[in-house]
C-alpha cells in the first residue's frame, strides 16, 4: 500500500543545516494499522508531512500503491493533532465535513449522504448544525475524523490525534478509531508519542531513532485483533511489548546527543 524508500529531510544548508530525517524506509500493508513512535523531536511530523505530499523530501521517495507521491494524493486523508486549528471556526460541523467533498467529483446527493454517514460513524449526528467551538475537544477531533472519512480515503494518516484530550476521552477515541478501521477497511499510519497507545492500537509499532531519524526497530504486535481497554492491557504480552518499546525509546533518549534541533521539528 505505502512504501517509504530512503526518505530524508534536511532543513537549511551548509553548516547551519538541520538533519531532521536521516534515512527512513518502511512499508505499510493494505488494511494494516501501523503506529510510529519515537523520542520527542525525532521528526515524526516531518515524516508524515512528506508522506502526505505537503512537504518535499530532500532524499528518497514515497510510493502509494506504487505511484510516487509528489503532491497531496486523492486517496489519503490527514488528521492533525490540533483539531481546534484544523477545523474551520466559521463553518458548521456539517460544512466542515463537507469541505473536502466540495471540489471532488461526487454527485450532490452523495455528498450529503457521505457527510451524514461519517458523522454517524463518529456519533455526532446530533451536533451536525453546531459550530466546532461549541463542542468539547474530543468531539472536535471526532469531527476531524468524520471529515477524513467522508473523503473516502484508502489510507488515513494521523499525527498524534489524541495528544490534546484527557485520558478518558483518549480511550474512547482509540476504540472509535479501531471500530472505524474495521467498518471502513481503511489502512492507518498513526504517529504518537504514547507507547501504550501505539501497542494498544497497532498491528506493528515502528520505533524511530532521534534526529537524524532512522527506523530503530519494527515491533510486531501479535495481540488478538479485537482490542479492549481493560482485557488487552491486562495481557502479559501487552506488558512485555510495552516494556520492550519503552526500553528502545528510553535507550534512544539517553543516547540523544543534543536537544531538539533548533525547535524546527515539532512533535
Amino acid at each position: 500500500m505505502l512504501e517509504i524508500k530512503g526518505l530524508g529531510k534536511t532543513y537549511g544548508e551548509g553548516a547551519k543545516a538541520t538533519h531532521a530525517i536521516g534515512d527512513v524506509s518502511l512499508t505499510v500493508e493494505a488494511g494494516e494499522f501501523a503506529c510510529v513512535v519515537g523520542p520527542s523531536g525525532c521528526g515524526k511530523t516531518t515524516l508524515l508531512k512528506c508522506v502526505a505530499g505537503l512537504m518535499k523530501p530532500s532524499r528518497g521517495e514515497v510510493l502509494l500503491r506504487g505511484k510516487r507521491v509528489t503532491g497531496p494524493p486523492d486517496e489519503l486523508a490527514l488528521v492533525f493533532q490540533e483539531y481546534s486549528r484544523s477545523l474551520l471556526p466559521w463553518a458548521s460541523v456539517r460544512n466542515n465535513v463537507l469541505l473536502p467533498l466540495r471540489h471532488k467529483s461526487v454527485p450532490g446527493g452523495d455528498k450529503k449522504r457521505l457527510v451524514e454517514e461519517s458523522l454517524d460513524a463518529v456519533g455526532l449526528t446530533r451536533f451536525i448544525d453546531h459550530y466546532p467551538w461549541q463542542l468539547s475537544g474530543g468531539m472536535q477531533q471526532r469531527v476531524a475524523i468524520a471529515r477524513a472519512l467522508a473523503y473516502q480515503p484508502s489510507m488515513l494518516l494521523m499525527d498524534e490525534p489524541f495528544a490534546s484530550v484527557d485520558a478518558q476521552t483518549r480511550g474512547d477515541l482509540e476504540d472509535l478509531i479501531l471500530r472505524v478501521r474495521d467498518e471502513y477497511g481503511i489502512t492507518i499510519l498513526f504517529v504518537t508519542h504514547d507507547i501504550d497507545e501505539s501497542v494498544y492500537l497497532g498491528d506493528r509499532v515502528i520505533v524511530l531513532t532521534h534526529a537524524p531519524t532512522h527506523v530503530k526497530e519494527i515491533v510486531g504486535v501479535p495481540l488478538p485483533r479485537q482490542r479492549d481497554q481493560l482485557a488487552t492491557k491486562e495481557l502479559p504480552e501487552f506488558a512485555h511489548l510495552r516494556a520492550h518499546v519503552y526500553r528502545l525509546i528510553k535507550r534512544e533518549q539517553e543516547a540523544t546527543p543534543e536537544p531538539d534541533p533548533a525547535g524546527l521539528v515539532s512533535v
Binding site: 486523492d74 489519503l76 490527514l78 486549528r85 471556526p89 466559521w90 471540489h103 467551538w133
Partner: protein
C-alpha cells in the same frame, strides 16, 4: 444587578447623556445670544427646513452616493489586492514601500492634482478621491488578516486536494473576514471625512458644499444644520455596518468567546 437591568440602564444612559448636552446647549445659547452659536431650536428648525426634505435630493443624495461608491470601490479593490499581497512575501516586499508612501499622504495634498488629472470637479473626481484614501485601511487589514491565517488550516485544505482558488475562497477569505471587516469600518468613517473635504474644496453640490456656501454668506444656522447632518450620517453608517457585521460574522463573536482569544 441583573443583566436586564444593566442593559436597560446602559441604553438609558446612551440616550440621556446626549439629551442632557442638547438641553444645556439650548439653555446656554438662549442666555448667550451669540450669532456664532445659534439656539438649538433655531438649528433644529433649520435642519428640518433644509434636510427634511427640500434640499435632501440636491445635496444629501449626491454626498451619500459618493460615499457609498467610493467606499465600495475601495473595499473591492482593497480585498482583491490584499489577498495576493498577503499570500506573497515577494509581493509585499515590492508593494509595501509604495503603500506606506501613499497611505500617509494628507488628503488635501492630492486634491489639486485630482482636479487637474480628472479634468473635473464632478462625481468621477470625488468618487475616485474617496476610493483612493479608503483603499488603504481595507488593503492593509486584508494583508494582515491573510497573513494571520493558521497554516494548519491551509495544510488541511491542501491535503484534501483543494486547489489555490478553492483555498482562497474556502479558507483565506472567510479566515481573513473579521480583520477585513475591521478595515472596512475604518474606511467607512474615512469616506465621510474625505467626502466633506472634497465637496468643500471642489464641488457644486453636496453637504460639504453647503458648508462652504454658509461660510461665505456668514449663515450660521445652515452651517450648524450641516454639521449635525454630517455627524448623524457618520453615526448611522457606522451603526448599519456594525449590524451587518453582527449578522455575517456571528461565528467570530462566538468563537472568540469560546476560545478566549
Amino acid at each position: 444587578m441583573s443583566r436586564r437591568t444593566y442593559s436597560t440602564l446602559a441604553v438609558a444612559a446612551e440616550i440621556a447623556v446626549p439629551v442632557a448636552i442638547l438641553l444645556l446647549w439650548q439653555a446656554w445659547t438662549v442666555h448667550a445670544d451669540s450669532q456664532y452659536f445659534p439656539r438649538l431650536s433655531t438649528i433644529l428648525v433649520e435642519f428640518k427646513d433644509m434636510w427634511l426634505f427640500s434640499q435632501f435630493h440636491e445635496h444629501v443624495v449626491p454626498s451619500l452616493v459618493r460615499i457609498l461608491l467610493g467606499f465600495g470601490i475601495a473595499a473591492v479593490l482593497g480585498i482583491a489586492l490584499g489577498i495576493p499581497l498577503g499570500l506573497s512575501r515577494w509581493g509585499r516586499l515590492l508593494a509595501m514601500p509604495h503603500i506606506e508612501f501613499w497611505r500617509n499622504m494628507p488628503p488635501p495634498a492630492l486634491l489639486p492634482i485630482s482636479v487637474l488629472l480628472l479634468h473635473s470637479i464632478g462625481d468621477v473626481q470625488k468618487v475616485a478621491f474617496i476610493a483612493f484614501f479608503c483603499l488603504f485601511p481595507v488593503l492593509l487589514n486584508t494583508i494582515d488578516g491573510v497573513r494571520g491565517i493558521d497554516p494548519t488550516l491551509v495544510d488541511t485544505a491542501r491535503s484534501y486536494g483543494l486547489g489555490r482558488l478553492a483555498r482562497i475562497r474556502r479558507i483565506v477569505l472567510p479566515g481573513a473576514a473579521p480583520q477585513i471587516s475591521a478595515g472596512m469600518r475604518t474606511s467607512l468613517s474615512l469616506a465621510v471625512i474625505i467626502m466633506v473635504v472634497a465637496e468643500y474644496f471642489s464641488s457644486t453640490n453636496g453637504v460639504g458644499y453647503v458648508l462652504l456656501i454658509s461660510k461665505n454668506t456668514f449663515e450660521f444656522a445652515p452651517m450648524w444644520a450641516a454639521i449635525v447632518l454630517i455627524g448623524l450620517l457618520g453615526y448611522l453608517l457606522n451603526l448599519l455596518f456594525i449590524l451587518a457585521e453582527k449578522r455575517f460574522l456571528a461565528w467570530h463573536r462566538g468563537w472568540r468567546a469560546a476560545t478566549g482569544s
